[in-house]
Every structure is written in C-alpha cells, then in structure tokens.
Symmetry: C2
Subunit: 390 residues, 2 copies
C-alpha cells in the first residue's frame, strides 16, 4: 500500500504504486494476474472518471484483456472488491487475482471530497436524514455529513453504555501512538487526552482529532488459490472468512442487532473461530467512538462494556489483543475506497511477523471490519474478514 496522506499523486499513480508493490511482494508478473477487482468510491465526483476506473488505473501497468470489475460500496468498496476476488478464487474460477482499492479525495476545491462522501447516503432522502441528525448532508466545508451521523450515534451510545468523551479521546491517543510507528500512516505520534478534547469541536461530542481525516491512497493484494500458492512457493496468511452484508433495520440500542454484529457472527461461524481466538484487529474507526461500539458489535466486549475493554489496556499495543495497530482510520488515514484492503495489508504484516515496532507477538489470527455508507440507520455495506497466519 501507498502511504496514506494528502498526496500530490494522481489516483492512477497511487493505484500503480500499490499494485506494483503487491505484485512484487507476491513475486508474480503482470501476466499471471487472471482477473482484477477494483474498489473505488469517489473518483466520479473527484476526478470525473466513472464507469471504467479500474481499467484506467491498470492499463498503464500493462494489465489488460483479463476481466476487470469496478466495485463500489462507499467506504467498504475495497473490502467488497476483496470479497469478490476471494470468491472467484474460492470458486476455482481463477488461481491468481488482484484486488485493489484506491481513492483520491483531496482536490483544489476542499469541499469536493466532503461532498463526494455525502453521496454514500440515500441522496433523495437527504432532507429527512438531515432533520434526524440536525445538519444538512454533504454541504459542510469543515466536515462530511458522516460526522453528524456519528455524533448522533455517539450520543445514543453514551446514554446506553455510559461512555464519555474521555473514553473517545483515549481511543485517539492509542491509535495515534500506533500510527506514529507506521511509516504509511498519514498522522501519528504522542497525544494527551487533553490534546484530543481541546481540539476544535466538529460536531458535539466529536472533536477534530476524533474524526478520521481526508486522505489519498491505495492498497492492493494478490490472492492465490492453494494450488497456485504451492506452485509459486508463496506462503502467507489465509483468508478464513470473507463476509459482506448490507444494513438492516434494527434496534439501535442493541449492539448485537445491526450489520456489524451479524457480519462478525457469520465470519466467526465460517472460520470456526470466536472473538477469543483473535490476536489483533483492524476496525473501522472513522470516528473514535465507533471503535468502542465495534468492540461490542463484534463480540470483543459485552454490550455496554466497550469503554471498559479499552480502559483495561487489552486493545493497546502490548495488550492481549491490540486493535488498530496500523493507527486505524483516525491516524493512518481514510482514503475511503482503499481502506478495506489497507486493513488486510496490516493484518498480513502482523500475521507474517513483519509489522516492525507495531508487531503483535505471536499473532496467528486477525480480524478486519470495514463499513460503508448509511441507509435507514445502519451501514449500507459491512465487511468482516478473518485471516490466519497459515
């Protein structure tokens, strides 16, 4: 994956860097790639390129003639592309495929990226949604509408769980510390709870440092069938479960009722594993409170016990089950259509023992969770992957 940052490079340059790095890492030539699944969410509105985005990104690398699919699921676009590539390999349709997520959100007009993110809701029902959360979607210069949504969810979550702004700040402190150890992270470093709380309020109770930034970047993986991996002498993490769901109408005060919980439960079942088997995880901390909610939704903590799990130190580096060792979306950055595969990159490095100063000792099983869009009170798309070292 590229470094995530506000980048001077174009979307196709970023995609090229990540793809070339993935091919080199896997030891395969362009000619070995049998199909490509490309996640991107915003290029149509940011760069003007719709419809054949993957072909445009991959042609300069000489990747042509094979099936190329352009896959969109808002912030879960890359995880959705990964799922489709995995399915093709699992089906025996292909032996070696490329899964790529790439996004360019920065633009000389700063509102362009924010407005693009605002199309990850039902745009015909902007007004109703705005009335629910108090602000018009997709029109903020200083934030995307998703931070209004997160703030609304966060207020409910505080009521149900007793979580406080200090808890959310502690998520940021942890993840920025991790990001400081990740050369590919957009930000990172040592912050105090007070630093986080005193940063500008974006939407109460979210401060600027509790919100993931606008980022550019790309991430890619090469997936092999077992037979092809043997032939190529490739070893490495396996995908033990790849689950995508769309959202559903549910009781929002029950963390076990929405798409995240359902996707995680299905993933654990398919992998024959449970939350206790997870050694490290990357979760969708697009806002800091989301990390605590996800702890409960995926079963790392009992309902309402997210803040307690964080306070216990288990999820920080050195704890028993570090979460967002990469820095997460908060610190590593969040080029939305790349995030789902960037999480897989971090899981891969952890399971290979290649995560350097972020290494989770003896990590054997990793979970990634990546959500996208919003529709009637749930993520429009939710992805959970479980990987094992072998």
């Amino acid at each position: 994956m590229t470094r995530f940052e506000k980048s001077p490079s174009s979307l196709r340059e970023l995609a090229g860097i990540a793809t070339r790095e993935a091919l080199a890492d896997a030891g395969v030539e362009v000619g070995s790639i049998e199909a490509a699944y490309v996640g991107n969410a915003a290029a149509g509105l940011v760069t003007g390129q719709e419809m054949i985005r993957g072909q445009v990104m991959l042609r300069p690398l000489g990747i042509e003639s094979i099936p190329i699919f352009n896959v969109e699921n808002a912030c879960a676009s890359a995880a959705s592309a990964l799922h489709l590539g995995w399915q093709a390999v699992a089906a025996g349709a292909h032996d070696v495929v490329l899964c790529l997520g790439a996004e360019k959100l920065t633009h000389e007009d700063k509102t362009v990226g924010m407005r693009a993110i605002g199309t990850a809701i039902d745009v015909e029902h902007r007004a109703e949604l705005a009335a629910e959360v108090g602000t018009p979607p997709g029109e903020g210069e200083d934030r995307s509408f998703f931070m209004d949504l997160y703030a609304d969810m966060t207020r409910s979550y505080m009521r149900v769980s007793g979580a406080t702004a200090e808890d959310f700040a502690a998520v940021v402190v942890k993840n920025q510390h991790n990001g400081g150890l990740n050369p590919r992270a957009q930000y990172g470093g040592e912050l105090s709870i007070e630093d986080v709380l005193s940063s500008r309020t974006v939407v109460d109770p979210l401060t600027l440092l509790m919100c993931s930034p606008i980022s550019d970047g790309a991430a890619a993986v090469v997936l092999f069938s077992e037979a092809a991996a043997r032939r190529a002498g490739v070893s490495g993490p396996r995908i033990r479960a790849s689950v995508i769901r769309s959202g559903n109408r549910h009781d929002h005060d029950d963390p076990l009722a929405g798409s995240t919980a359902l996707a995680a439960r299905e993933a654990f079942e398919r992998a024959g594993l449970g939350p206790d088997d997870i050694d490290c995880a990357e979760v969708h901390d697009a806002s800091a409170p989301a990390e605590l909610m996800v702890y409960e939704q995926v079963g790392f903590a009992a309902p309402g016990a997210g803040p307690e799990l964080l306070a216990s130190g288990r999820t920080r580096l050195g704890g028993e089950m570090p979460v967002n060792t990469s820095g997460g979306l908060l610190s590593k950055g969040h080029p939305i259509g790349a995030t789902g595969i960037a999480q897989i990159c971090e899981a891969t490095w952890q399971l290979r023992g290649e995560a350097g100063p972020r290494q989770v000792e003896g990590a054997k099983v990793a979970l990634t969770q990546n959500g996208g869009g919003w529709l009637e009170g749930d993520s429009a798309a939710m992805a959970v992957h479980i990987l094992s070292a072998d």
Copy 2:
C-alpha cells in the same frame, strides 16, 4: 424488464419494477434472495447517487441485510453484475441471487446523459482521443462521444470490408422491424433504407437512425443453482458460459484480435459449442455498423463478410439465426447499465418460447454480447454469455 423509453419514473422506481417482475417470474420471495449484484453506470452524474446505488434501489423492496455489490463497467455494467452473480452461484456460495441492471439517462438538462456517457473513456486523455477521432468527447449536445468513436471505427471497417451506408441502414431496418414487435422497445416499426439514410447526419457516416438512443430502463434476473432450481420447481434457460474480458491493444483491422473475438472464443470453448450452434443472438448494436462488425468478431461471419451475412437474410426474423430480435439497442433502446441484462431477458424469452411475434422457432441456444467503455482502441469491458434452453 421495464419498457425502455424516456421515462417519467425515477431510477429506483425502474429498478423496483424490473426486480419485482423478475421475482414474480421466478416465483421467489424477497427473503429467498441471498445476494444482489447491481449494475449501473451513470447515476452518480445523472441523479447524484454514487457509492450505494444498489442498496438505495433495493431497500424499498425490503431487500436488505444480504450482500449487495455495486458493479460498474460502462455499457457492460449489467453483464458484469450478471457474471459476478453467476460466479457466486457456480461457486456454491449462494443458491439464489438477484442480478439487476438499471439506468436513468434522461434529465431536464439534455447534455447530462451525454456527458455521463463521456466518462466511459479515460477522461484524463480526452484530448488525445478527440484528436484521433476529430471531436471533443463528452461535450456534444446532440451526441455522445461514442458516436464519434463508432464513426471512426466505421470508416476503417468500410475500407476493410467494403460495407456501405446502405448496409448499415439495412441493419436499422431489420432491428426497427423487430422492435416494432416488442412491447418493451422504445421505438420500432417499418422503415425504408431511404428513411435511415435521409435522417440527420450525426457523424459521417452515421445518421441519427443508425445510433442507439438515450433511454431509461431496468432489467433483472434471478439465478438459481441447479439444486435450488429443482427444489423450487423452476426450469428454464441455463447459463452455459459467462465471459468478461477487458480490452487489449491489437490490430484494429483484424476482427479476430480484439476483446469481442477473444470473449466469444472463450465462451464457445467453455460451453463446448460453436457459432453454428447459435439459434439467435442479441448483440451490442450501439451503432448500426457495430452489428456487422460483431458478426465477424464472434464468428457468425468470416472476416469482411458481415455485410454478406446481413444481406443473406439469415439474421432477420424468419432467417436461420435471427440477431437482435428484441430490436437491439437501436430500437429497443440503450439505458446503458441495464442493457446487458435486458439482452439476457430476450434470450430467456426466446429459449422459453415466450417471445410472441418475435419468437425464433425451436430456439435452443442463444448468445448475447455486450460491450462497455473505450480504452486505447478497444472496449474497456466485453461480455459474452451463452444460454441454452435446458
């Protein structure tokens, strides 16, 4: 499928009509659908909805919680969605899936649809492409840039094959006749060669009637695994081959070198069939000359013999292998992200003997060919499907 037309209905209404009709035809309830693959190409630029288009279309029908994938491949978006759904079923991942293609191209600003279609090229290289074909892409009020591309290809094709404007007009006469027999076609009726030749010149040698129109519409199919079809008591056409390719750099004067020829060859190989086994076909006649080129590319005619095949009458209704019995894109219409599945609907009706006055007697095997976008001298995405009656 809906009727294709310049429709007063919204994208989600069109998608709803087609989806409900497909579910009713298959005799399945919403709750039986295990995953959905949704093709759309232009909504981001026409309606402002990006990122979660399928979820937005399907939620009003109560389709939620399942995996939903948004698939984009320009005019081959629906065929690409179909391929991914077919792959999931063929893989055993799902037993019953929905594949939907939907497009709304009309807009109160008439240039919006044309400009959207103009993003099916590499938009960063508009200028080079414009220089090649002589007109700026995506800026015409009276045509999409693709007609400039087709005109350029057509001039080469005329040089190589000896095809004339009269041949192209004869394609239009045939397909408009067929469309006149199809209640879902946007246009249709009896025209003379002279009517076609004397319609307004769009780009020489293409006249208005040689160009597919701007259309709205949706088409959907439900795919079953063999076991699920048996359980549900469903019989009907089978997908014998589903092939997607991206374009490749090749010798443009050789009809057997580009993505259409390669995809067709692969499809025939997978199906264990050849061009002589095809009883009827739907091909991508986005412009009239394209139908003749496709005859040669897929192997219905020898290189250069497209005009001769047309003149022989074999491809008209009543001939041995009718092509574009639905009216094709020229007469039925071309809501770009719906077209690939609309072709499958026509093939299905033909193979079931339900095509009414368009029925090809005893049709047992059908081929569909659907191309999308343009990149360095070839379609960016190319789809060929072969279906058999049982």
